[in-house]
Symmetry: C3
Subunit: 345 residues, 3 copies
């Protein structure tokens, strides 16, 4: 399929600058632009590419002022990032496979309820009494334990494992290999050995949650481990038993949250962040990648380091850390000078 | 089912304080207590909840002295934590699904030996010559490679993959998605490229080991990677080739141990700890979360930081680290003062 | 099977020192040597074991000079490490299972092309239009999405999930549980919520790549996430959308690379390294375990720390960091001395 630049501009409520008749049949990145593709420029870091890109059309922000002439047609939109996202959604709708129906062999136990227009892939396992809403997609090798409930329009990718009694909301996406509801890590010391603390709670995932691949969310000891509405978790994240993650909080890959910690709403955590157990990390906390949180964190904090504290202060301390050998020498020097001064008195 | 507080007290060898006739039909957390539920108070951090909890009955330690009056019946026991654990075990026994038999379709190759009262889920794969003890439970999508041996009473959850020739003991639990016996990461540099070092050993997991979800334990280059009796590993842990983990050692999520390192018995590692290869970490070592160990560690050490050293010393050094910008200023100040002193001489 | 030391020496182009008639029937590690086994000594750290090993034969480097007499036959070779690797390859060829054919039940969709001498395990799923080269091995529970292409001689272990449209080269090995081509983690903020940025690109894995277990490589937003020829990734590694990893680069377990970062060729990353997004890490960069990279890195750098900088400088700074409490005391002392000096003037 091909589209004219001017037609795309209409679709995106943008303004064409340059040849509106040029044809586009695919998207590309501005640094790898090819003729008859559309690219976008949102991050100023990439601006220099626009002066030599081979892309025929580039989406830019309304207020973009080129430093020199550009070799492509521009479409000015209020947000280049949002515009490309909406174009990509249209494109994706055309290319992403949309499997339907119930493939064989699959295993659907007694008492399972399945809504309208399902996809259940081959080798999917749906345990006793599980209930699936409308338009649910369960990919091959997914394991849905006894009594699990999955809301409308939710997609469970290949090989996801959901233990018995867990609940997943509507419009969620869970990527391949993720494990929901394994036992929390609870052991009571009994002399030299440990006794396992039974984990009888579950996991509740609310609506509009997206979870990456090979992530783990453990069931609660009692009650529920809860992932609230709109949360986005990346790959290989660890959420321990009884953790609560607040609405619209976003965690990058390989983050780990220990047991019973409460994370507020609208937080953003970089990759490989670790948070100790039994803490309160309040709303809108931002944690730099690899931060290690060992105390409660007040709302709106921006933290860094391990143990983590105010990021601006951390950066300043780290500047001095890099100079420590020098400082050490200076201190020795001062000692000598003082000795000299003392000897002269 | 409902129980009277006084009957629970008898079961737990505890002493009732308050109304022994009050009925309980579920458990709850003290901070989320509901009427007719039983909660417990072990961690003093949660004491304030007991003065307003809605739970009807609370298990407390024998020596608990309320700071004010409590709105609930107390049951005093020698250890509230152990008492609740034993109650939870009884409760879990009632609610956790206990699947049995051999579901179809499953794949059981020639020469497989299966003990008494097995569970083999649909889509489980048992390779040639594998031997399963009595009461073994193999959940759906588990892959048991050729010649694997699994001891009595062991549970292998959904989608666990065990490569050929590995051995799992009795009374073990391995959670969903964990991979046992993939090749160790060994490559010999050959000019610009690498030659793979064949990994011909196996993994041996002894009795009473529990392993979390999506954890990886690589097979040995030669000999065995060994997880000794009573070890507990959390989710997303990495155990490299030829590592030995001593008895009853406990590792939290996302810990990584590099090749050929020996970890002693009764160690406790926080989340995201990393240990370099070819090291000896001796018995009863405790490592704070995110520690990075780069040298041998003597028995009983308590370490922190990366590279890790004595935790108490690390904390003291870190206190000063936070003040480094200030210190830097003070040092500059002293230099000036000395210049002034010198000029005056 | 048994071999004489002198026959092994011929095979490895080595020179026997001691009894060439001694028989060997297995390999062992030098520290756990048993009679009639062959061990090797490459790492000088292990030299002391050779003076008491029970192994009958030990492979050593040509230039090895024993500090005392050794209780075993030596075979001197140009590289003990390479020699043992080549012996292990021969041994492995004899013991590793080599499954063949198409097991049932498996799921092979319409339009799938399969090359010569395949192995397709039970419960493997091959989606519409996928193309598999010659000698491809797809283990049980692997999911090969629509239109995926897999080159000759590649092995896909149990439970690997490859999303639609991804490409895997020839002579690759992907270990169990790894997920290739899940959506990149891209969300555009929309007030309090997030809109998902569609991820319409794919993953391209070139030839001779080995990937460990439970690793994740996300598909590109647009274009391709690319793992170039000869790359080796360990277990539980995270490669985000649009990352490019250069030829023969090696990453240890639990490394995480954020979106759109370019990693050069011949780099070596220790375990748990994290690299922020949109960076250039040039060829032959070496990163110590747990390093956190937040800026571009020039070719050939050796970095450490978080944020990472020159490793030698980091180590020096860290030596002083450990002494900070002492330094703090000394600074206070100097202040006092200066006060004294001033008061005396």
């Amino acid at each position: 399929m091909e589209f004219k630049a001017k037609d795309i501009a209409v679709l995106l409520k943008g303004v064409v600058e340059g040849d509106g008749e040029v044809l586009v049949n695919n998207v590309s990145k501005i640094e790898e632009g090819r003729p008859n593709t559309l690219a976008f420029l949102a991050n100023p870091k990439y601006e220099h590419y626009i002066y030599s890109t081979k892309a025929s059309v580039v989406l830019v922000n309304q207020n973009f002022v080129p430093a020199q002439s550009v070799p492509c047609t521009l479409i000015r939109v209020s947000s280049a990032y949002e515009a490309i996202a909406s174009l990509l959604r249209i494109y994706e709708e055309m290319v992403r496979p949309k499997p339907q129906g119930i493939e064989q062999p699959s295993f659907i136990a007694e008492g399972v309820v399945i809504g309208e227009t399902p996809y259940i892939g081959a080798f999917a396992y749906i345990g006793k009494g599980a209930r699936l809403g409308n338009n649910v997609r369960i990919y091959p090798h997914a394991y849905i334990g006894e009594g699990v409930v999955i809301g409308d329009n939710t997609t469970i990718y290949a090989g996801v494992k959901i233990y018995y009694g867990c609940i997943v909301g509507c419009n969620c996406t869970i990527h391949a290999g993720t494990v929901i509801g394994a036992d929390g890590f609870g052991f009571a010391s009994a002399g030299e050995d440990y006794n396992k603390v039974p984990q009888i709670g579950n996991v509740v995932i609310e609506d509009y949650v997206e979870i990456g691949a090979n992530t783990c969310i453990d069931r609660a000891t009692m009650g529920s481990t809860r992932i609230k509405k709109g949360v986005k978790l990346d790959n290989l994240v660890q959420i321990a038993h009884n953790v609560v993650v607040g609405e619209n909080t976003v965690m990058a890959a390989q983050v780990g949250i220990a047991g019973t910690t409460k994370v507020g709403a609208h937080c953003m955590f970089g990759g490989q962040v670790g948070i100790a157990g039994h803490l309160n990390v309040e709303d809108r906390t931002m944690l730099a990648a690899q931060s290690g949180v060992t105390n409660d964190v007040a709302a709106g904090s921006v933290f860094m380091g391990a143990p983590a504290f105010d990021a601006a202060k951390y950066r300043k301390a780290y500047v001095v850390f890099r100079k420590l050998p020098e400082l050490y020498g200076q201190l020795r020097e001062l000692e000598k000078e003082i000795q000299t001064l003392k000897s002269k008195q």
